[in-house]
Symmetry: C2
Subunit: 283 residues, 2 copies
Amino acid sequence: MGQILQGKPVALALSQQLKERVADMRRQGKTPRLAIVRLGEAPDDIAYEKSAIKCCRDHEVDVQSIVLPAGTGEEQLLAHLQAVNDDKQTDGCLLLKPLPPGIRESKAAEALAPQKDVDGITPGSLAHLCGLDIAGFPPCTAQACLEILDHYQIDAAGKRAVIIGRSLVVGKPLAMLLLARNATVTVCHSKTKDLPAVVREADIVVAAMGRARLLGAEYFRPGQIVLDVGINFDDQGKMCGDVDFAQVEPIVAAITPVPGGVGAVTNRVLLKHVVDAAQRVLG
Amino acid sequence: MGQILQGKPVALALSQQLKERVADMRRQGKTPRLAIVRLGEAPDDIAYEKSAIKCCRDHEVDVQSIVLPAGTGEEQLLAHLQAVNDDKQTDGCLLLKPLPPGIRESKAAEALAPQKDVDGITPGSLAHLCGLDIAGFPPCTAQACLEILDHYQIDAAGKRAVIIGRSLVVGKPLAMLLLARNATVTVCHSKTKDLPAVVREADIVVAAMGRARLLGAEYFRPGQIVLDVGINFDDQGKMCGDVDFAQVEPIVAAITPVPGGVGAVTNRVLLKHVVDAAQRVLG
Protein backbone atom coordinates (compact mmCIF):
# COMPACT_ATOMS: atom_id res chain seq x y z
CA MET A 1 0.00 0.00 0.00
CA GLY A 2 1.26 3.45 -0.87
CA GLN A 3 1.86 6.13 1.71
CA ILE A 4 -0.96 8.68 1.54
CA LEU A 5 0.58 12.13 1.22
CA GLN A 6 -2.13 14.05 3.04
CA GLY A 7 -2.22 17.79 2.46
CA LYS A 8 -3.50 18.68 5.90
CA PRO A 9 -0.26 18.16 7.87
CA VAL A 10 1.55 20.23 5.24
CA ALA A 11 -1.03 23.00 5.56
CA LEU A 12 -0.83 22.90 9.36
CA ALA A 13 2.95 23.13 9.36
CA LEU A 14 2.81 26.07 6.92
CA SER A 15 0.13 27.71 9.08
CA GLN A 16 2.31 27.55 12.14
CA GLN A 17 5.27 29.13 10.36
CA LEU A 18 3.05 31.81 8.83
CA LYS A 19 1.39 32.71 12.14
CA GLU A 20 4.82 33.24 13.69
CA ARG A 21 5.99 35.35 10.77
CA VAL A 22 2.83 37.46 10.74
CA ALA A 23 3.02 38.01 14.52
CA ASP A 24 6.61 39.15 14.10
CA MET A 25 5.69 41.55 11.31
CA ARG A 26 2.74 42.94 13.24
CA ARG A 27 5.09 43.67 16.13
CA GLN A 28 7.06 45.74 13.61
CA GLY A 29 3.85 47.61 12.73
CA LYS A 30 3.17 45.88 9.43
CA THR A 31 0.15 43.69 8.69
CA PRO A 32 0.37 41.83 5.36
CA ARG A 33 -2.56 42.53 3.09
CA LEU A 34 -4.09 40.65 0.16
CA ALA A 35 -6.44 42.17 -2.41
CA ILE A 36 -8.78 39.73 -4.17
CA VAL A 37 -10.17 40.95 -7.48
CA ARG A 38 -13.31 39.18 -8.68
CA LEU A 39 -15.34 39.95 -11.81
CA GLY A 40 -18.93 38.78 -11.67
CA GLU A 41 -20.61 36.21 -9.46
CA ALA A 42 -19.35 32.81 -10.68
CA PRO A 43 -19.99 30.30 -7.85
CA ASP A 44 -16.47 28.78 -8.17
CA ASP A 45 -14.93 32.24 -7.80
CA ILE A 46 -17.07 33.06 -4.78
CA ALA A 47 -16.20 29.74 -3.11
CA TYR A 48 -12.46 30.27 -3.70
CA GLU A 49 -12.68 33.86 -2.49
CA LYS A 50 -14.48 32.79 0.72
CA SER A 51 -11.84 30.16 1.44
CA ALA A 52 -9.02 32.65 0.81
CA ILE A 53 -10.68 35.26 3.06
CA LYS A 54 -11.11 32.73 5.86
CA CYS A 55 -7.50 31.63 5.49
CA CYS A 56 -6.29 35.25 5.68
CA ARG A 57 -8.41 35.99 8.78
CA ASP A 58 -7.24 32.80 10.51
CA HIS A 59 -3.69 34.03 10.08
CA GLU A 60 -4.36 37.70 10.95
CA VAL A 61 -3.59 38.82 7.41
CA ASP A 62 -5.70 41.71 6.08
CA VAL A 63 -7.82 41.02 3.05
CA GLN A 64 -9.76 43.32 0.76
CA SER A 65 -12.35 42.08 -1.74
CA ILE A 66 -12.62 44.11 -4.91
CA VAL A 67 -15.78 42.93 -6.66
CA LEU A 68 -16.47 44.29 -10.12
CA PRO A 69 -19.56 43.62 -12.24
CA ALA A 70 -19.34 40.79 -14.82
CA GLY A 71 -19.70 43.41 -17.57
CA THR A 72 -16.56 45.30 -16.52
CA GLY A 73 -14.44 46.31 -19.52
CA GLU A 74 -10.75 45.54 -19.98
CA GLU A 75 -9.67 49.14 -19.43
CA GLN A 76 -11.66 49.40 -16.22
CA LEU A 77 -10.08 46.20 -14.90
CA LEU A 78 -6.61 47.45 -15.80
CA ALA A 79 -7.32 50.70 -13.93
CA HIS A 80 -8.31 48.70 -10.85
CA LEU A 81 -5.13 46.62 -11.08
CA GLN A 82 -3.09 49.81 -11.42
CA ALA A 83 -4.76 51.10 -8.24
CA VAL A 84 -3.72 47.87 -6.49
CA ASN A 85 -0.15 48.37 -7.75
CA ASP A 86 -0.15 51.94 -6.42
CA ASP A 87 -1.65 51.08 -3.03
CA LYS A 88 1.25 50.86 -0.59
CA GLN A 89 -0.90 49.02 1.99
CA THR A 90 -1.57 46.11 -0.37
CA ASP A 91 1.20 43.50 -0.62
CA GLY A 92 -0.37 40.88 -2.85
CA CYS A 93 -3.17 40.57 -5.40
CA LEU A 94 -5.18 37.52 -6.41
CA LEU A 95 -7.14 37.98 -9.64
CA LEU A 96 -9.79 35.27 -9.89
CA LYS A 97 -9.86 33.51 -13.27
CA PRO A 98 -11.09 32.70 -15.82
CA LEU A 99 -11.94 36.29 -16.69
CA PRO A 100 -15.23 37.09 -18.44
CA PRO A 101 -15.20 37.05 -22.27
CA GLY A 102 -13.91 40.28 -23.78
CA ILE A 103 -11.10 40.68 -21.28
CA ARG A 104 -7.71 39.40 -22.38
CA GLU A 105 -5.95 37.53 -19.58
CA SER A 106 -2.60 38.54 -21.08
CA LYS A 107 -3.46 42.24 -20.67
CA ALA A 108 -4.46 41.72 -17.05
CA ALA A 109 -1.27 39.70 -16.48
CA GLU A 110 0.84 42.51 -17.93
CA ALA A 111 -0.92 45.15 -15.82
CA LEU A 112 -0.24 43.66 -12.38
CA ALA A 113 3.07 44.44 -10.64
CA PRO A 114 5.17 41.23 -10.39
CA GLN A 115 6.06 42.18 -6.79
CA LYS A 116 2.36 41.76 -5.88
CA ASP A 117 1.66 38.83 -8.21
CA VAL A 118 1.13 36.20 -5.49
CA ASP A 119 -0.45 33.66 -7.87
CA GLY A 120 2.23 33.90 -10.56
CA ILE A 121 0.29 35.20 -13.59
CA THR A 122 2.52 38.07 -14.75
CA PRO A 123 5.26 37.93 -17.42
CA GLY A 124 7.71 38.84 -14.67
CA SER A 125 6.67 35.86 -12.54
CA LEU A 126 6.98 33.50 -15.51
CA ALA A 127 10.44 34.85 -16.34
CA HIS A 128 11.41 34.59 -12.65
CA LEU A 129 10.34 30.92 -12.78
CA CYS A 130 12.45 30.38 -15.90
CA GLY A 131 15.42 31.58 -13.87
CA LEU A 132 15.69 35.30 -14.62
CA ASP A 133 16.79 37.10 -11.47
CA ILE A 134 13.76 39.39 -11.06
CA ALA A 135 10.81 39.64 -8.65
CA GLY A 136 7.93 37.21 -9.07
CA PHE A 137 6.10 34.22 -7.62
CA PRO A 138 5.28 30.72 -8.85
CA PRO A 139 1.57 29.90 -9.28
CA CYS A 140 0.22 28.64 -5.93
CA THR A 141 -0.81 25.17 -7.16
CA ALA A 142 2.62 24.49 -8.67
CA GLN A 143 4.35 25.65 -5.49
CA ALA A 144 1.95 23.53 -3.38
CA CYS A 145 3.44 20.43 -5.07
CA LEU A 146 6.91 21.45 -3.91
CA GLU A 147 5.65 22.13 -0.37
CA ILE A 148 4.30 18.57 -0.24
CA LEU A 149 7.61 17.13 -1.45
CA ASP A 150 9.48 19.21 1.13
CA HIS A 151 7.18 18.31 4.02
CA TYR A 152 7.49 14.59 3.33
CA GLN A 153 11.26 14.99 2.78
CA ILE A 154 11.19 13.81 -0.82
CA ASP A 155 14.28 15.15 -2.57
CA ALA A 156 13.71 15.65 -6.31
CA ALA A 157 17.42 16.06 -7.16
CA GLY A 158 18.63 13.53 -9.69
CA LYS A 159 15.15 11.98 -9.92
CA ARG A 160 13.10 11.66 -13.08
CA ALA A 161 9.96 13.77 -12.86
CA VAL A 162 7.22 13.33 -15.44
CA ILE A 163 4.56 16.04 -15.61
CA ILE A 164 1.38 15.29 -17.53
CA GLY A 165 -0.12 18.58 -18.66
CA ARG A 166 1.52 21.72 -20.05
CA SER A 167 -0.68 24.53 -18.73
CA LEU A 168 0.62 27.96 -17.82
CA VAL A 169 -0.65 27.55 -14.23
CA VAL A 170 0.67 24.08 -13.40
CA GLY A 171 2.56 22.04 -16.00
CA LYS A 172 5.07 24.55 -17.31
CA PRO A 173 5.74 26.35 -13.99
CA LEU A 174 6.19 23.03 -12.21
CA ALA A 175 8.63 21.90 -14.90
CA MET A 176 10.73 24.98 -14.12
CA LEU A 177 10.44 24.50 -10.34
CA LEU A 178 11.47 20.83 -10.52
CA LEU A 179 14.36 21.67 -12.87
CA ALA A 180 15.54 24.20 -10.29
CA ARG A 181 15.45 21.33 -7.77
CA ASN A 182 17.76 19.37 -10.10
CA ALA A 183 15.18 16.81 -11.26
CA THR A 184 15.36 15.53 -14.84
CA VAL A 185 12.01 16.77 -16.09
CA THR A 186 9.76 15.44 -18.86
CA VAL A 187 6.57 17.25 -19.90
CA CYS A 188 3.84 15.11 -21.51
CA HIS A 189 0.50 16.09 -23.03
CA SER A 190 -2.31 14.92 -25.28
CA LYS A 191 0.08 14.38 -28.22
CA THR A 192 2.53 12.21 -26.27
CA LYS A 193 2.91 8.73 -27.73
CA ASP A 194 2.67 5.71 -25.40
CA LEU A 195 1.97 7.86 -22.36
CA PRO A 196 1.84 4.85 -19.98
CA ALA A 197 5.41 3.87 -20.88
CA VAL A 198 6.67 7.44 -20.40
CA VAL A 199 4.91 7.81 -17.03
CA ARG A 200 6.32 4.49 -15.83
CA GLU A 201 9.85 5.90 -16.34
CA ALA A 202 9.20 8.54 -13.67
CA ASP A 203 10.33 8.54 -10.07
CA ILE A 204 7.95 11.45 -9.43
CA VAL A 205 4.70 11.71 -11.41
CA VAL A 206 2.67 14.92 -11.50
CA ALA A 207 -0.82 14.51 -12.98
CA ALA A 208 -2.12 17.88 -14.12
CA MET A 209 -4.28 17.42 -17.19
CA GLY A 210 -7.72 17.74 -15.61
CA ARG A 211 -9.31 14.48 -16.76
CA ALA A 212 -11.18 12.47 -14.14
CA ARG A 213 -9.33 9.27 -13.15
CA LEU A 214 -7.68 9.00 -16.57
CA LEU A 215 -4.48 7.48 -15.20
CA GLY A 216 -5.08 3.85 -14.20
CA ALA A 217 -2.81 1.03 -13.03
CA GLU A 218 -1.05 0.61 -16.40
CA TYR A 219 0.68 4.00 -15.97
CA PHE A 220 2.43 3.14 -12.73
CA ARG A 221 5.06 0.90 -11.14
CA PRO A 222 6.23 0.28 -7.57
CA GLY A 223 8.40 2.95 -5.98
CA GLN A 224 6.84 6.00 -7.60
CA ILE A 225 5.76 9.21 -5.87
CA VAL A 226 2.48 10.52 -7.34
CA LEU A 227 1.23 14.11 -7.01
CA ASP A 228 -2.33 14.43 -8.32
CA VAL A 229 -3.14 18.05 -9.14
CA GLY A 230 -6.44 17.28 -10.90
CA ILE A 231 -9.71 18.50 -9.40
CA ASN A 232 -12.52 16.88 -11.36
CA PHE A 233 -16.02 15.63 -10.70
CA ASP A 234 -17.08 12.17 -11.86
CA ASP A 235 -20.46 11.11 -13.27
CA GLN A 236 -21.83 10.82 -9.74
CA GLY A 237 -20.69 14.35 -8.96
CA LYS A 238 -17.96 13.08 -6.65
CA MET A 239 -14.69 15.01 -6.57
CA CYS A 240 -11.72 13.06 -7.92
CA GLY A 241 -8.24 13.55 -9.31
CA ASP A 242 -6.60 12.71 -12.63
CA VAL A 243 -5.34 9.45 -11.13
CA ASP A 244 -7.58 6.43 -10.43
CA PHE A 245 -6.68 6.42 -6.76
CA ALA A 246 -8.26 3.05 -5.92
CA GLN A 247 -6.28 1.31 -8.69
CA VAL A 248 -3.00 3.16 -8.25
CA GLU A 249 -2.56 3.62 -4.49
CA PRO A 250 -1.80 -0.11 -3.92
CA ILE A 251 0.97 -0.02 -6.57
CA VAL A 252 3.02 3.11 -5.85
CA ALA A 253 5.23 4.22 -2.95
CA ALA A 254 3.25 7.37 -2.15
CA ILE A 255 0.33 9.36 -3.56
CA THR A 256 -1.65 12.51 -2.79
CA PRO A 257 -5.40 12.00 -2.38
CA VAL A 258 -8.11 14.13 -4.05
CA PRO A 259 -9.63 15.83 -2.16
CA GLY A 260 -7.23 16.43 0.69
CA GLY A 261 -3.93 16.47 -1.17
CA VAL A 262 -2.42 19.31 -3.23
CA GLY A 263 -5.64 21.33 -3.07
CA ALA A 264 -5.50 21.40 0.73
CA VAL A 265 -2.14 23.19 0.60
CA THR A 266 -2.79 25.79 -2.11
CA ASN A 267 -4.35 28.55 -0.01
CA ARG A 268 -1.54 28.34 2.55
CA VAL A 269 0.91 28.88 -0.34
CA LEU A 270 -1.09 31.92 -1.42
CA LEU A 271 -0.80 33.27 2.09
CA LYS A 272 2.91 32.47 2.22
CA HIS A 273 3.40 34.49 -0.95
CA VAL A 274 1.50 37.44 0.57
CA VAL A 275 3.69 37.27 3.66
CA ASP A 276 6.82 36.98 1.49
CA ALA A 277 5.71 40.04 -0.49
CA ALA A 278 5.07 41.98 2.72
CA GLN A 279 8.46 40.92 4.05
CA ARG A 280 10.14 42.39 0.96
CA VAL A 281 8.34 45.68 1.57
CA LEU A 282 9.58 45.67 5.17
CA GLY A 283 13.07 44.92 3.86
CA MET B 1 26.04 7.22 -42.27
CA GLY B 2 23.85 9.98 -40.91
CA GLN B 3 22.48 12.79 -43.02
CA ILE B 4 24.48 15.97 -42.40
CA LEU B 5 22.04 18.73 -41.55
CA GLN B 6 24.05 21.62 -42.97
CA GLY B 7 23.09 25.07 -41.78
CA LYS B 8 24.01 26.83 -45.02
CA PRO B 9 21.00 25.76 -47.11
CA VAL B 10 18.74 26.78 -44.22
CA ALA B 11 20.45 30.17 -44.03
CA LEU B 12 20.18 30.64 -47.80
CA ALA B 13 16.48 29.80 -47.86
CA LEU B 14 15.87 32.22 -44.97
CA SER B 15 17.92 34.87 -46.76
CA GLN B 16 15.80 34.61 -49.87
CA GLN B 17 12.55 34.98 -47.91
CA LEU B 18 13.99 37.88 -45.93
CA LYS B 19 15.23 39.73 -49.00
CA GLU B 20 11.76 39.54 -50.51
CA ARG B 21 10.12 40.73 -47.33
CA VAL B 22 12.58 43.61 -46.89
CA ALA B 23 12.15 44.69 -50.53
CA ASP B 24 8.39 44.68 -50.01
CA MET B 25 8.67 46.76 -46.83
CA ARG B 26 11.06 49.21 -48.46
CA ARG B 27 8.52 49.72 -51.25
CA GLN B 28 6.13 50.73 -48.44
CA GLY B 29 8.71 53.25 -47.22
CA LYS B 30 9.94 51.25 -44.23
CA THR B 31 13.48 49.93 -43.79
CA PRO B 32 13.87 47.57 -40.83
CA ARG B 33 16.54 48.66 -38.41
CA LEU B 34 18.60 46.84 -35.79
CA ALA B 35 20.50 48.52 -32.96
CA ILE B 36 23.46 46.56 -31.56
CA VAL B 37 24.53 47.58 -28.07
CA ARG B 38 28.07 46.58 -27.08
CA LEU B 39 29.89 47.34 -23.84
CA GLY B 40 33.65 47.24 -24.08
CA GLU B 41 35.92 45.62 -26.63
CA ALA B 42 35.68 41.87 -26.01
CA PRO B 43 36.91 40.11 -29.20
CA ASP B 44 33.94 37.66 -29.19
CA ASP B 45 31.50 40.57 -29.05
CA ILE B 46 33.27 42.43 -31.84
CA ALA B 47 33.30 39.32 -34.03
CA TYR B 48 29.59 38.69 -33.47
CA GLU B 49 28.79 42.34 -34.07
CA LYS B 50 30.72 42.34 -37.37
CA SER B 51 28.91 39.26 -38.56
CA ALA B 52 25.53 40.74 -37.60
CA ILE B 53 26.35 44.03 -39.36
CA LYS B 54 27.39 42.20 -42.53
CA CYS B 55 24.24 40.10 -42.43
CA CYS B 56 22.08 43.23 -42.06
CA ARG B 57 23.83 45.02 -44.93
CA ASP B 58 23.55 41.95 -47.18
CA HIS B 59 19.80 42.07 -46.65
CA GLU B 60 19.41 45.87 -46.90
CA VAL B 61 18.45 46.14 -43.25
CA ASP B 62 19.70 49.24 -41.43
CA VAL B 63 22.01 48.69 -38.52
CA GLN B 64 23.29 51.02 -35.83
CA SER B 65 26.18 50.18 -33.50
CA ILE B 66 25.96 51.65 -30.04
CA VAL B 67 29.36 51.14 -28.42
CA LEU B 68 29.73 52.04 -24.77
CA PRO B 69 32.94 51.93 -22.70
CA ALA B 70 33.55 48.77 -20.64
CA GLY B 71 33.23 50.89 -17.48
CA THR B 72 29.67 51.99 -18.29
CA GLY B 73 27.42 51.85 -15.21
CA GLU B 74 24.10 50.06 -14.98
CA GLU B 75 22.05 53.25 -14.96
CA GLN B 76 23.82 54.57 -18.04
CA LEU B 77 23.16 51.31 -19.90
CA LEU B 78 19.50 51.39 -18.89
CA ALA B 79 19.26 54.97 -20.18
CA HIS B 80 20.68 53.84 -23.54
CA LEU B 81 18.21 50.96 -23.71
CA GLN B 82 15.38 53.37 -22.91
CA ALA B 83 16.55 55.55 -25.80
CA VAL B 84 16.40 52.51 -28.08
CA ASN B 85 12.86 51.78 -26.83
CA ASP B 86 11.84 55.37 -27.56
CA ASP B 87 13.43 55.52 -31.01
CA LYS B 88 10.64 54.90 -33.51
CA GLN B 89 13.16 54.17 -36.31
CA THR B 90 14.67 51.23 -34.45
CA ASP B 91 12.76 47.95 -34.69
CA GLY B 92 15.03 45.53 -32.87
CA CYS B 93 17.87 45.63 -30.36
CA LEU B 94 20.66 43.12 -29.79
CA LEU B 95 22.50 43.57 -26.48
CA LEU B 96 25.79 41.69 -26.62
CA LYS B 97 26.42 39.51 -23.58
CA PRO B 98 27.89 38.65 -21.15
CA LEU B 99 27.74 42.16 -19.69
CA PRO B 100 30.72 43.53 -17.75
CA PRO B 101 30.78 42.87 -13.98
CA GLY B 102 28.69 45.32 -11.99
CA ILE B 103 25.81 45.34 -14.46
CA ARG B 104 22.95 42.99 -13.64
CA GLU B 105 21.71 41.22 -16.77
CA SER B 106 18.24 41.00 -15.21
CA LYS B 107 18.04 44.81 -15.00
CA ALA B 108 19.06 45.17 -18.64
CA ALA B 109 16.54 42.48 -19.59
CA GLU B 110 13.76 44.32 -17.77
CA ALA B 111 14.68 47.64 -19.38
CA LEU B 112 14.35 46.60 -23.03
CA ALA B 113 10.92 46.71 -24.69
CA PRO B 114 9.80 43.13 -25.51
CA GLN B 115 8.60 44.35 -28.94
CA LYS B 116 12.25 45.14 -29.81
CA ASP B 117 13.78 42.19 -27.97
CA VAL B 118 14.94 40.27 -31.05
CA ASP B 119 17.22 37.93 -29.08
CA GLY B 120 14.65 36.98 -26.44
CA ILE B 121 16.23 38.26 -23.23
CA THR B 122 13.32 40.17 -21.66
CA PRO B 123 10.79 38.84 -19.11
CA GLY B 124 8.10 39.48 -21.74
CA SER B 125 9.89 37.28 -24.29
CA LEU B 126 10.32 34.48 -21.75
CA ALA B 127 6.63 34.68 -20.79
CA HIS B 128 5.70 34.75 -24.49
CA LEU B 129 7.73 31.56 -24.94
CA CYS B 130 5.93 29.95 -22.00
CA GLY B 131 2.69 30.59 -23.86
CA LEU B 132 1.42 33.92 -22.53
CA ASP B 133 -0.19 35.84 -25.37
CA ILE B 134 2.06 38.91 -25.33
CA ALA B 135 4.77 40.35 -27.60
CA GLY B 136 8.22 38.77 -27.52
CA PHE B 137 10.76 36.68 -29.39
CA PRO B 138 12.57 33.40 -28.73
CA PRO B 139 16.36 33.58 -28.35
CA CYS B 140 17.95 33.30 -31.82
CA THR B 141 19.92 30.11 -31.15
CA ALA B 142 16.85 28.26 -29.84
CA GLN B 143 14.78 29.39 -32.84
CA ALA B 144 17.64 28.39 -35.20
CA CYS B 145 17.12 24.79 -34.08
CA LEU B 146 13.48 24.96 -35.14
CA GLU B 147 14.43 26.52 -38.48
CA ILE B 148 16.70 23.56 -39.16
CA LEU B 149 13.96 21.07 -38.28
CA ASP B 150 11.52 22.94 -40.53
CA HIS B 151 13.92 23.20 -43.45
CA TYR B 152 14.67 19.48 -43.39
CA GLN B 153 10.96 18.72 -42.86
CA ILE B 154 11.44 17.05 -39.51
CA ASP B 155 8.14 17.14 -37.63
CA ALA B 156 8.63 17.20 -33.85
CA ALA B 157 4.97 16.42 -33.04
CA GLY B 158 4.57 13.26 -30.97
CA LYS B 159 8.35 12.72 -30.91
CA ARG B 160 10.48 12.50 -27.81
CA ALA B 161 12.89 15.40 -27.59
CA VAL B 162 15.71 15.34 -25.06
CA ILE B 163 17.53 18.61 -24.41
CA ILE B 164 20.83 18.48 -22.55
CA GLY B 165 21.37 21.83 -20.86
CA ARG B 166 18.96 24.14 -19.04
CA SER B 167 20.26 27.62 -19.83
CA LEU B 168 18.03 30.64 -20.22
CA VAL B 169 19.27 31.18 -23.79
CA VAL B 170 18.96 27.65 -25.21
CA GLY B 171 17.77 24.78 -23.00
CA LYS B 172 14.69 26.25 -21.38
CA PRO B 173 13.47 28.30 -24.37
CA LEU B 174 13.91 25.33 -26.68
CA ALA B 175 11.94 23.14 -24.26
CA MET B 176 9.06 25.61 -24.59
CA LEU B 177 9.39 25.83 -28.39
CA LEU B 178 9.43 22.04 -28.81
CA LEU B 179 6.48 21.65 -26.42
CA ALA B 180 4.57 24.12 -28.59
CA ARG B 181 5.40 21.85 -31.54
CA ASN B 182 3.80 18.97 -29.60
CA ALA B 183 7.00 17.09 -28.82
CA THR B 184 7.28 15.25 -25.51
CA VAL B 185 10.17 17.17 -23.99
CA THR B 186 12.78 16.08 -21.41
CA VAL B 187 15.35 18.52 -20.03
CA CYS B 188 18.61 16.99 -18.71
CA HIS B 189 21.56 18.60 -16.97
CA SER B 190 24.64 17.94 -14.88
CA LYS B 191 22.57 16.29 -12.12
CA THR B 192 20.78 13.86 -14.46
CA LYS B 193 21.43 10.23 -13.58
CA ASP B 194 22.44 7.79 -16.35
CA LEU B 195 22.45 10.51 -18.99
CA PRO B 196 23.36 8.10 -21.83
CA ALA B 197 20.21 6.03 -21.18
CA VAL B 198 18.00 9.13 -21.11
CA VAL B 199 19.51 10.50 -24.32
CA ARG B 200 19.06 7.16 -26.09
CA GLU B 201 15.27 7.43 -25.44
CA ALA B 202 15.11 10.54 -27.63
CA ASP B 203 13.95 10.80 -31.22
CA ILE B 204 15.40 14.32 -31.31
CA VAL B 205 18.50 15.15 -29.24
CA VAL B 206 19.56 18.74 -28.59
CA ALA B 207 23.05 19.08 -27.13
CA ALA B 208 23.39 22.45 -25.42
CA MET B 209 25.63 22.13 -22.42
CA GLY B 210 28.82 23.66 -23.83
CA ARG B 211 31.29 20.82 -23.19
CA ALA B 212 33.60 19.89 -26.07
CA ARG B 213 32.70 16.48 -27.61
CA LEU B 214 31.27 15.22 -24.30
CA LEU B 215 28.59 13.10 -25.98
CA GLY B 216 30.16 10.00 -27.54
CA ALA B 217 28.73 6.89 -29.18
CA GLU B 218 27.24 5.47 -25.98
CA TYR B 219 24.62 8.27 -25.89
CA PHE B 220 23.12 7.46 -29.27
CA ARG B 221 21.17 4.86 -31.25
CA PRO B 222 20.15 4.53 -34.90
CA GLY B 223 17.28 6.70 -36.09
CA GLN B 224 17.95 9.76 -33.97
CA ILE B 225 18.06 13.39 -35.13
CA VAL B 226 20.86 15.31 -33.41
CA LEU B 227 21.07 19.10 -33.12
CA ASP B 228 24.41 20.20 -31.71
CA VAL B 229 24.20 23.72 -30.29
CA GLY B 230 27.61 23.62 -28.61
CA ILE B 231 30.38 25.92 -29.80
CA ASN B 232 33.59 24.86 -28.07
CA PHE B 233 37.28 24.76 -28.83
CA ASP B 234 39.30 21.61 -28.23
CA ASP B 235 42.86 21.34 -26.92
CA GLN B 236 44.18 22.00 -30.41
CA GLY B 237 42.07 25.17 -30.67
CA LYS B 238 39.75 23.54 -33.19
CA MET B 239 36.07 24.48 -33.05
CA CYS B 240 33.81 21.58 -32.11
CA GLY B 241 30.36 20.86 -30.73
CA ASP B 242 29.10 19.07 -27.62
CA VAL B 243 28.77 15.86 -29.66
CA ASP B 244 31.74 13.77 -30.77
CA PHE B 245 30.81 14.09 -34.43
CA ALA B 246 33.24 11.46 -35.75
CA GLN B 247 31.88 8.83 -33.37
CA VAL B 248 28.22 9.72 -33.57
CA GLU B 249 27.58 10.64 -37.19
CA PRO B 250 27.88 6.99 -38.38
CA ILE B 251 25.25 5.89 -35.82
CA VAL B 252 22.39 8.38 -36.06
CA ALA B 253 19.90 9.28 -38.80
CA ALA B 254 20.90 12.94 -39.05
CA ILE B 255 23.18 15.42 -37.28
CA THR B 256 24.17 19.08 -37.50
CA PRO B 257 27.92 19.71 -37.88
CA VAL B 258 29.95 22.20 -35.83
CA PRO B 259 30.89 24.56 -37.37
CA GLY B 260 28.34 24.90 -40.16
CA GLY B 261 25.20 23.73 -38.39
CA VAL B 262 23.01 25.65 -35.94
CA GLY B 263 25.51 28.50 -35.68
CA ALA B 264 25.30 29.12 -39.43
CA VAL B 265 21.57 29.85 -39.08
CA THR B 266 21.52 32.06 -35.97
CA ASN B 267 22.20 35.43 -37.58
CA ARG B 268 19.49 34.87 -40.19
CA VAL B 269 17.07 34.23 -37.32
CA LEU B 270 18.19 37.49 -35.71
CA LEU B 271 17.43 39.26 -38.98
CA LYS B 272 14.09 37.49 -39.30
CA HIS B 273 13.13 38.76 -35.86
CA VAL B 274 14.12 42.32 -36.84
CA VAL B 275 11.98 42.05 -39.97
CA ASP B 276 9.09 40.55 -37.93
CA ALA B 277 9.37 43.45 -35.46
CA ALA B 278 9.37 45.98 -38.31
CA GLN B 279 6.37 44.23 -39.85
CA ARG B 280 4.42 44.66 -36.61
CA VAL B 281 5.22 48.37 -36.64
CA LEU B 282 3.95 48.61 -40.22
CA GLY B 283 0.83 46.69 -39.10
